[in-house]
């Protein structure tokens, strides 16, 4: 008999094959360690019976299968306390019986053992890339987690949104390359060793691409061109929403991935850097009716997935199925999941993949007031978390500027990316668009009072070209992905600077370098929240691959040798970030004013052309300057003049008069080290009347 001496109110009432049981608690869902036992709670609205399946760690066959007595079901929740389990070694799943009637939406199959959607860790993929046992019928098993991590005084940093500079990164890619020189390449522990680099770079927030448990072997195959194994490398296909990816932890093989990730968050916080997770709630790893049954399909298919009237899977995600996010039950699991990550992992915010799906009703129609998005916006636990939407989906819903925001949600501003790319490469008719992007996109976010912090400004992200490739390739080169170059976007707004791909031609190399600096100068002087893509600060290439989702090779791995090879570019980005930090004018949470708000009679922002106060908004204009005016942190007058010449010919820009002297901070038309001067070391402009901007260059000039 178990020891009940310490809790006389807690005792077994039932026994099954030597296991002591009692009726459980419906809440919380999942497996919860109690005094002397474990509470198992699982939901299904259509199942007729449920069985708890317990394994000893790694054993192929169950140790016991315990049917939930009917008296242990409350409503649609089966709940049971099992006493005397070894929490370190037990693995668990469920069998659900019920109708198999696909036309009605039901796909119950009691021959399958199902993963608990609330499992806090999942075994089966502990070591990245290690061939799984393909014969194992229950490869993804739930495991128990102790909430005993010593956080000391850590908690989410709650940095103001307008102060953020986000660095999007892939955990494995960041340190997998041998040049990373870390003890545990490609892991959370490896990332730990690179925190000083991130701090020196000057970013203050990392956005991790998916770290929820996923199966890198999902749809794995051999590349027809290279013969290498192609994986579900990026991980945009979730197996376990509550569990960190074991294969990303050096300690995953010992089941300590929770500790390792928590330690990374704690240490990153100590460096003043926030952690945002890229979360994928639009679909799961179960695919369509031909995919594996891992969890939801067998637990309650009709509840968890959006289904056609014939019972097939809607595919708004482009990945086979669509999670039924505005069903109240699914809403609850999303909320529970994010609360768990915010509370137990101290996560600072979330970026929602294909978030437009989260605003669709169970039949796919966009909702005007989506309950899930509203619940997330007003949730008390998530109250200080950043909520960022990728405001479109694969079903054609594009909501940049119109995503239901409730005063909370920010968006990946796809229009910012496209307009700035096109302007920089010299497309006509974009001077006006650039002006709005520099201000934080008031055209998108001003009408409903959202402000610049609704706009995540970016030039590049994991989807698409790297910044170097943006100026090295006219066309995508995705042959390595094994889909005959059909995958990936075709509208890249890229320009190869005259040669397709890598070249030894010095003028082309120099032009590419200059284009990168010009584009980054726009990004880091725009209002809104800038986001950099891992490695762009050191000139990373993917050799023209704009959709490297399946490649576990140097295409994705960050080559740290680039910090030396492209030292001038890295220095440029570091100093550029310091300039952004030095000038609060660039980081206001309000859109600027054209009529007032600057120093004395100057407006907060004014636009200029080659002649001051005369911007050229014409179709053929490829030149624009803006003057920011206001007060700096010491309350001293601040004048910041930013000019871009995207034309292929150089041009003289006469400078507006100010009651200060102009000093050059950035001139991307100059070779390093004259391309940028550190804050405080700006160089007095010899001719205060104007500046000459080289072709395809930008200048940042400050008055002091």
């Amino acid at each position: 008999m178990p020891d009940t001496s310490s809790r006389i109110d807690y005792y077994p009432t039932h026994e099954y094959q030597g296991f002591h049981l009692r009726p459980g608690h419906p809440y919380p869902f999942g497996a919860t360690i109690l005094s002397g036992g474990v509470n198992f709670s699982v939901f299904s609205s259509h199942a007729t019976s449920c069985t708890l399946v317990l394994f000893d760690k790694g054993e192929p066959l169950p140790r016991v299968e315990i049917p939930f007595p009917d008296s242990f079901r409350i409503g649609n929740v089966w709940c049971m306390v099992v006493f005397d389990l070894d929490c370190e070694s037990v693995e668990y799943g469920y069998r659900m019986d019920g109708p198999f009637e696909p036309a009605e939406g039901h796909r119950f199959d009691p021959t399958k053992i199902l993963l608990d959607p609330y499992a806090k860790t999942v075994s089966g993929r502990e070591i990245w890339g290690q061939d799984p046992d393909w014969q194992q019928p229950f490869p993804h098993r739930g495991r128990l987690v102790f909430e005993d991590f010593d956080w000391e005084d850590d908690r989410p940093l709650e940095r103001p949104m307008e102060e953020l500079v986000i660095y999007e990164m892939h955990v494995r890619s960041f340190t997998r390359h041998p040049s990373a020189l870390v003890k545990h390449p490609g892991t959370f522990a490896g990332l730990l060793e690179k925190i000083p680099y991130l701090k020196e770079l000057g970013i203050n927030c990392i956005e991790m691409m998916p770290v929820y448990e996923f199966d890198e072997f999902e749809n794995s195959r051999k590349s027809p061109t290279t013969g290498e194994t192609l994986y579900n490398y990026w991980g945009y296909s979730t197996v376990g929403f509550f569990s960190p990816k074991a294969g990303y932890a050096a300690t995953g093989r010992w089941g300590m991935q929770v500790d390792e990730l928590k330690n990374v968050v704690k240490e990153i916080h100590k460096a003043g850097i926030e952690v945002i997770l890229d979360v994928v709630f639009n679909h799961t790893a179960e695919g369509n009716e031909h995919g594996p049954t891992i969890s939801f399909r067998g637990l309650d298919n009709k509840t968890y997935y959006m289904l056609t009237p014939e019972g097939y899977y809607f595919n708004f995600s482009g990945c086979g199925n669509t999670l039924n996010c505005n069903h109240p039950i699914v809403r609850s699991i999303v909320l529970d999941c994010l609360r768990y990550w915010a509370a137990e992992f101290h996560i600072d915010g979330f970026r929602f993949d294909l978030a437009a799906i989260l605003g669709r009703d169970p039949w796919g129609a966009p909702l005007p007031n989506p309950p899930l998005l509203e619940s997330l916006a007003f949730d008390p636990v998530l109250a200080k978390c950043k909520l960022i939407a990728e405001a479109w989906d694969a079903g054609g819903l594009y909501q940049v500027g119109t995503f239901p925001a409730y005063g909370r949600w920010a968006e990946w501003n796809g229009k910012y990316r496209d307009d700035v790319r096109r302007f920089v490469k010299g497309d006509p008719g974009l001077a006006g668009a650039l002006a709005t992007r520099l201000q934080g996109s008031p055209d998108l976010y001003g009408w409903n009072g959202r402000g610049p912090t609704a706009s995540i400004n970016f030039l590049t992200c994991h989807d698409g070209f790297t910044l170097l490739d943006l100026f090295s390739y006219n066309e995508k080169h995705n042959e390595k992905n094994g889909e005959e170059n059909r995958d990936g976007a075709n509208d890249n707004h890229s320009w190869n600077c005259g040669r397709e791909g890598a070249t030894e031609d010095p003028p082309v190399q120099a032009l590419r370098r200059q284009m990168i600096k010009t584009a980054l100068s726009i990004l880091l002087t725009s209002r809104g929240v800038p986001m950099l893509w891992m490695g762009d600060e050191m000139g990373r290439t993917q050799e023209g691959n704009n959709n490297a989702y399946c490649l576990d090779d140097p295409t994705n791995w960050l080559d740290w040798n680039l910090t030396e090879q492209n030292r001038d570019l890295l220095r440029f980005v570091q100093l550029l970030l310091r300039h952004r930090k030095a000038h609060p004018l660039l980081r206001s949470k309000k859109h600027p004013c054209f009529h007032r708000g600057g120093f004395e009679e100057y407006p907060e922002i004014s636009f200029h052309g080659q002649a001051p106060w005369q911007p050229d908004w014409s179709e053929e204009s490829r030149r624009l300057a803006c003057l920011w005016s206001g007060r700096d942190r010491q309350d001293a007058p601040a004048f910041l003049y930013f000019a871009v010449n995207a034309h292929w010919e150089g041009a003289w820009f006469a400078l507006p008069r100010i009651p200060r002297c102009w000093h050059v901070a950035i001139n991307t038309g100059m070779p390093a080290p004259e391309d940028i001067f550190a804050p405080g070391e700006e160089v007095l402009l010899s001719d205060q009347s104007g500046v000459f901007l080289s072709p395809r260059s930008a200048m940042f000039i400050i008055g002091k």
Partner: protein, 106 residues
């Protein structure tokens, strides 16, 4: 190597020597010793782990339990950790909660 654990107490200090593999099977014995050590309310807990070859999650849990059981005022020293044991302590962040030292001078 089979797991071995030994406790030696003085009025101020509890010393525990661990050898072999501290895993799910051996962790309960370690936990018993921790509880025994806590009885005398020592000011210091010193864990000698030079010959500890492996530290599993279950072992880490007991270390964390020791930290909580002893209370914030008790200093915990982990002496002679090396190889994978040291790595596990560092990757899990437990090294921030204790003093990791190569040797202990009494």
């Amino acid at each position: 190597m089979a797991f071995e654990v030994a406790l030696e107490t003085t009025p101020e200090t509890a010393k525990i020597t661990l050898k072999g593999e501290l895993d799910a099977a051996s962790a309960p014995r370690f936990k018993e010793i921790i509880e025994k050590a806590a009885v005398s309310s020592p000011a210091r807990l010193v864990l000698f782990v030079n010959d500890l070859t492996f530290l599993a999650s279950a072992g880490l849990r007991v270390l964390i339990f020791a930290k909580q059981k002893m209370g914030a005022g008790v200093q915990i020293y982990v002496i002679g950790s090396q190889g994978p044991v040291r790595g596990t302590l560092e990757m899990s962040g437990f090294h921030h909660s204790v003093y990791l030292q190569d040797s202990y001078g009494d």
